[in-house]
């Protein structure tokens, strides 16, 4: 139905979309550490001044040790507030958690005080987030854990320290989480993000997904959020996200949640009943356009209607920004890989290398690389020797089992397999 005016003229309309909460609009983090317990922030000003790239312009602190500061970082001015607050451990059960070392978790359970540091992200939200982690470690070098309230995630203090001192910003997935809410009766799942709003974009959701397919459809919502963050651009109408196995494009077209839920039965999980107190601010539900005609006619398809296609090996495009970020992080943390393998010869490691493809003129094309996994054989003086695990598509001269020697400048990703888990550059704090 259409209305000539953008709103009803003669009816009082009750609000559907609520204003964002403070922790949605800004980035709120709660820090746990031994020094937080005793509210010891002696010398913090000097430590902040010593953070690489930070120019502290103002630092105000009150008797209760709450305060604020103004600083410049990478050419942008930031205002940051902080205060101490009681901490209740129970809340952690509702959060997503990074892998936390057992001994750390035991300490976390006993904490009763937290330090809250909050700030507004600007358009360079990767830097903003990185800065917040750097400030946390400047306030509390002994950080045990951090609760990223805006993303509803428990961060390991070890990860925070690694990320803070890294020259590369944390990746996009650090800025948001994808949560799943299950309906045991219908066996349906509601997937939704947290943490996106602080970057200036909306949260994303998938409604009415079958429980069996939730893991596969996680990649759909995850890729959408990654795309928006890496491209620093909201989705105007739709985006090309990838390809179905039949080669047709996956076109994502989100709708505001209040418009979207009208297209679903009212009793689904994530429906009107779940919007009374939360999930009612800035969030968009993911739909698809299955053809150009659908896009032209505004015909939205629910992902739940084409689940079988979405779970059948869809190909999601990575943006150049995402690939570049992955590359920089893997190189930044290459020494950790080297150290882990040297100290633990039983660990296996795969290293992704960007190989120049065969150019149309017969010469190697260094602009278009094919990223392919090698198994690490040994580190050498110049770099490492490794064996190719699969045949490349666009490098005719190489085949599975070929050995080669490469340098850190060829690395675009890596993964270590220990006896218990796999560790990549982002989770290198577990080493």
């Amino acid at each position: 139905m259409f209305n000539l005016f953008k709103k009803k003229q003669n009816e009082v309309k009750l609000p559907e979309v609520a204003p964002m909460e403070l922790w949605e609009e800004r980035s709120y983090m709660h820090v746990l550490s031994d020094k937080v317990d005793v509210e010891d922030i002696d010398g913090v000003k000097e430590r902040i001044q010593a953070v690489d790239g930070v120019n502290l312009k103002e630092f105000n602190i009150k008797d209760d040790k709450s305060g604020n500061m103004i600083l410049d970082y990478k050419g942008e001015e930031y205002g940051v507030g902080f205060y101490f607050e009681d901490f209740v451990f129970d809340r952690l059960y509702s959060l997503q958690k990074q892998k936390i070392h057992d001994e750390d978790f035991e300490k976390i359970e006993k904490k009763t005080n937290s330090f809250i540091i909050y700030m507004k992200f600007n358009k360079n939200y990767f830097d903003s987030y990185h800065l917040q982690l750097k400030l946390i470690t400047a306030f509390f070098p002994d950080t045990l854990a951090v609760i990223d309230e805006s993303a509803e995630r428990l961060l390991s203090g070890r990860w925070v320290k690694l990320a803070a001192k890294s020259s590369v910003t944390p990746n996009a997935e650090s800025l948001f989480t994808v949560q799943a809410v299950f309906d045991d009766e219908t066996n349906k799942v509601w997937l939704h993000t947290h943490g996106m709003c602080r970057t200036g974009f909306s949260e994303f959701e998938l409604l009415d997904i079958s429980r069996d397919n939730a893991n596969d459809l996680y990649y759909l919502i995850n890729t959408v959020a990654n795309r928006v963050l890496y491209q620093n651009e909201a989705i105007e109408d739709y985006i090309f996200l990838g390809e179905f196995i039949d080669g047709r494009e996956i076109v994502v077209a989100p709708l505001p949640w209040n418009v979207a839920i009208a297209k679903y039965p009212s009793d689904i999980i994530g429906g009107p009943a779940d919007r009374a107190d939360s999930h009612n601010t800035n969030s968009q539900v993911i739909f698809l356009f299955l053809s150009e005609e659908d896009a032209n006619n505004g015909k939205y398809t629910k992902p739940s209607d084409v689940e079988e296609k979405l779970v059948e090996n869809p190909l999601y495009y990575y943006t150049n920004e995402q690939t570049e970020h992955m590359k920089f992080m893997s190189r930044d943390r290459y020494e950790l890989l080297k150290k882990a393998i040297s100290e633990n010869p039983s660990y296996k490691a795969l290293i992704k290398v960007g190989l120049p493809t065969d150019g149309e003129d017969g010469n190697p094309d260094y602009e278009n690389l094919e990223h392919i996994w090698f198994e690490l054989l040994e580190f050498t003086e110049e770099g490492f020797r490794a064996v190719l695990t699969q045949a490349p598509y666009r490098v005719a001269a190489m085949k599975e089992g070929d050995e080669g020697e490469y340098t850190v400048n060829d690395v675009t990703d890596w993964v270590i397999y220990t006896d218990e888990m796999s560790i990549d550059p982002n989770t290198a704090y577990l080493l």
């Binding site: 259409f2 000539l4 009750l14 700030m119």
Partner: protein, 502 residues
């Protein structure tokens, strides 16, 4: 030193004119967003209170870069500062809040926010709409007097002068002129609050001008509509369209192949019904084409789904020439004047969510639903387009609130609601009587009110002297010995100003 750095230094040294001289000569596209921001700061500081031009210039430079400067304290503060000195305190508060978010605890920002809240709470606008109009009508008459009344083009001149002066003071009003019928037509736009303001302008027109021309509020329906409507240089034939009007006042527009933009449909509806009838009926419409009958989808409207055969549906349709008559026969209220429309009200029920002012409401009626909707759905620092536009034009939108004896509601809710309504009616009568003595009854429009668990409410728009009306209300509550009475503007952030509090 680079130009940008130099400008920052000049601004820091309060040498604002140097910044203006250095940056104004650059072509617009040669300035970076940072340069625009420094130039805006210079304009802001060169401007004096009451002097709008530099602040408007500053906003013109800043607002296009809002996304670029996302999260930047200085940017938000500069925008807010411009709005503050343009006396747009609602928008100023919105941007000061953004500035505070970017720099938590900043004392200057907090001080400015408090200033804004005080302005918005008091409700006293710097220049009321009645004061603006007094000057406008005076200037118009002065200018018209310069011309010879016997001239053939005197009326044309008078109309042009009036339209120009009104547009100078109220630039958002869209004016159409019909010289033949000596009519100035104000477009009503997309909100009923405009109709309240436009009717007030019309009502305050001096008698000696009334003989020269008429003012009409809302685009009138057209007598002679052509089959072709031109939109963005394309011609659209509307004669093939068919209209179905349901008993519950929904319209379905049918074409075998629907390729007419909604803007054309909007134009057609305005031509057929006129703006005020459209607003008063505020119907919903849907579109359908052949595919909806051949292969219905979930987007096919229910009305069409009720018909198995397209022909049966079309039998019930009319073309655009018959639409008005058909709509009337289906219960549309047509031929409503703007004044009648202002008196039309609708009811609403809310879930009482607390004891705070206006949070206790469970039932109400209103002549301006969009204002109530905006209030209910807004946060304390949100932009409020309707309130901001009223405020900009010198109109105060707010409500009186009063509480009765505690036992009243407990004993009998019907009795309590009746008593609330009774007090409301008495208050209206009292205020109008007092204004009558001043010859200014038109300076307030009562918008109906609401009943809460704790308080009763009477909503208003004030176009004229705020204190005349508040004094009258104060006297009324004193006489009635009401234990809690006061007023509040329609903003969550504004405070209750109490007349009595026991």
């Amino acid at each position: 030193m680079e130009l940008l750095e130099q400008c920052k230094e000049w601004n820091n040294n309060e040498e604002y004119q140097k910044v203006v001289d250095a940056l104004e000569i650059l072509p617009e596209n040669a300035r970076t967003p940072e340069m625009d921001s420094e130039l805006a700061k210079a304009y802001n500081n060169l401007g004096e209170p009451g002097d709008s031009k530099p602040f408007i210039q500053a906003l013109g430079l800043l607002l296009p870069h809002e996304e670029y400067f996302r999260g930047n304290h200085r940017f938000y503060f500069r925008v807010a500062y411009s709005y503050f000195y343009l006396e747009e305190h609602g928008l100023a508060l919105h941007y000061f809040k953004q500035a505070l978010d970017a720099r938590p605890g900043d004392e200057d920002t907090i001080d400015m926010m408090n200033e804004c809240v005080n302005w918005l709470t008091d409700g006293v606008v710097a220049v009321s709409m009645s004061q603006k109009l007094e000057l406008v009508w005076e200037d118009i008459q002065k200018e018209i007097r310069k011309y010879n009344k016997n001239s053939k083009i005197f009326n044309v001149r008078a109309i042009n002068i009036t339209a120009n002066h009104i547009n100078d003071v109220f630039p958002k009003i869209k004016i159409n002129i019909f010289y033949e019928s000596r009519t100035i037509e104000f477009e009503a736009g997309d909100d009923k609050s405009n109709v309240f303001m436009l009717e007030y302008i019309k009502d305050t027109m001096p008698d000696n001008l009334k003989g020269l021309f008429n003012i009409r509020v809302g685009i009138a329906a057209k007598e002679d509509i052509k089959d072709i409507i031109v939109y963005e240089d394309e011609e659209y034939d509307i004669s093939e369209l068919r209209f179905f009007v349901s008993d519950d006042r929904q319209i379905v527009i049918y074409a075998d192949e629907f390729d007419i933009p909604l803007e054309v449909i909007e134009q057609l509806f305005i031509d057929i019904f006129g703006e005020i009838d459209l607003m008063a009926n505020d119907f919903e419409f849907d579109i359908a084409d052949e595919d909806d009958f051949d292969a219905p989808t979930e987007d096919t409207c229910d009305i069409v789904l009720d018909y198995e055969e397209k022909e049966d549906f079309l039998k019930e349709c009319v073309d655009y020439r018959g639409l008005k008559e058909r709509a009337k026969s289906k219960g549309f209220r047509l031929g409503i004047s703007a004044k009648e429309y202002l008196k039309m009200y609708s009811g609403y029920r809310l879930q009482s969510v607390g004891d705070d002012i206006r949070e206790d409401i469970y039932t109400g009626t209103t002549c301006l639903p969009s204002l109530i909707s905006e209030y209910i759905s807004s946060g304390p620092f949100d932009k409020m387009p309707i309130m901001d536009e009223l405020y900009r034009n010198g109109v105060v939108a707010g409500f009186f609130c009063f509480s009765l004896e505690e036992s009243d509601q407990e004993n009998d809710s019907f009795e309590y609601e009746f008593e609330v309504m009774n007090i409301r009616n008495q208050l209206i009568e009292y205020i109008l009587n007092e204004l009558e003595k001043l010859g200014k009854t038109g300076n307030i429009a009562f918008l109906e009110g609401a009943t809460g668990k704790i308080c009763g409410y009477l909503d208003f728009l004030i176009f004229g002297n705020f204190m005349d009306i508040m004094s009258a209300a104060y006297d009324f509550f004193e006489e009635k010995n009401i234990k809690l009475a006061g007023y509040k503007t329609f903003r969550k952030i504004s405070k209750l100003v109490t007349f009595r509090e026991e």
